[in-house]
Subunit: 207 residues, 2 copies
Amino acid sequence: MSLSTPTKAPATPRAGRPRSFDREEALDAAMHVFWRQGYEGASLTALTEAMGINRPSLYAAFGDKAGLFREAVARYGTGPGRYIRRALGQPRARQVAEMLLRGAVASATDLASPGGCLWVQGALVTSTEGEMIRTEMMALRNAGTTQIQDRLDRARREGDLPAATDVQTLALFLVSVMNGIAVQASSGRSREALNSVADYALKSWPV
Amino acid sequence: MSLSTPTKAPATPRAGRPRSFDREEALDAAMHVFWRQGYEGASLTALTEAMGINRPSLYAAFGDKAGLFREAVARYGTGPGRYIRRALGQPRARQVAEMLLRGAVASATDLASPGGCLWVQGALVTSTEGEMIRTEMMALRNAGTTQIQDRLDRARREGDLPAATDVQTLALFLVSVMNGIAVQASSGRSREALNSVADYALKSWPV
DNA sequence: CCACTTCTTTACCGATCGGTTGGATTTTAG
DNA sequence: CTAAAATCCAACCGATCGGTAAAGAAGTGG
């Protein structure tokens, strides 16, 4: 946010004027704008104002609007969406599911963020011009589901879930509830109410 | 779609040239564009092309883009979203929930439609310019949840659900799963896979 | 110091945005 | 048949869209 923050010394200092803004800070600001307004709703003016830079600097650092969005989406994965990776690393499948749902609620209702989930609302629908980005986001969501399904399938093979468990349905159910929680958070639902939803969703967890 | 369809005789025939297009047909076409591209993603050009009319005709018939969207959203309620009202009319709470989830899957995966749910993806996020519409959609989603909650509470008072049932959580869970199903349908998930999700969501239904 | 490289700034590009104007056209009312 | 009313069409409005050109500013390497 602040322009007075001194630029960190780059790993390989090239010649020329160093950029006057922190790339990560600017990317964070852009992520929040995309999160709140979506890919197409976020105008270059809104983005550059939030990032504290002007257009040519943005284009020099991130390529174009689509490139900036892709980086923002990736950063979301190592920031607010970090809980997913941690959840997949839990030893028991039940804990995986708990952390997925709890993490989705916590992230989507964080008062310091725009609310909801960037992966859901970043480009759920677009004009024809944004179809490539929309398709990429579909693929990203589906890849996430596959990761969860693979983790549950491993649990099934390990005996952590009943052998007859339909892991595809179970994974798709978890993701659907996570997505629904995100939509509801974007509709203003409270963290407590959504945590109750997460609890309820876990009630029929397979023995 | 077809311009050759003769205009129905209006109830009170006013003076002047009658409009040459069917208002309901045009509204249907607009609804599909908003459904696929969202409120802000749907340009006047895309809308008028799909509706088979030109701008002044659209503005004369619907006011402005926001008015057209509001009518499209209302029409969605009596068309693809009709299942909700029918579900609320079922005699048993369990049947209400089943029809809500089944209907959400059927509507969101209808191959003759853009996929997903207009109420979810019509204006989940917007630029600052569309904030009023976004707020209206939030209110509409929340009102729907309240209707479901009221129906479940009635069931509880009637003994159709256990007296200790947390109907608020149950309603919010149902809506969340419906929303998640819509997101997943927009991500290309099949009707069969999502019907399995609906079945799973009903497994922990209170006795 | 100088030459060079890179970033920042301002101002601008054509295209598209939502919305409207004015006139030709088609109807009803009298 | 004429006057009034409403629609239809083409063309246009200022504003904003994503993206860029050109020149000044601020660094590095010699």
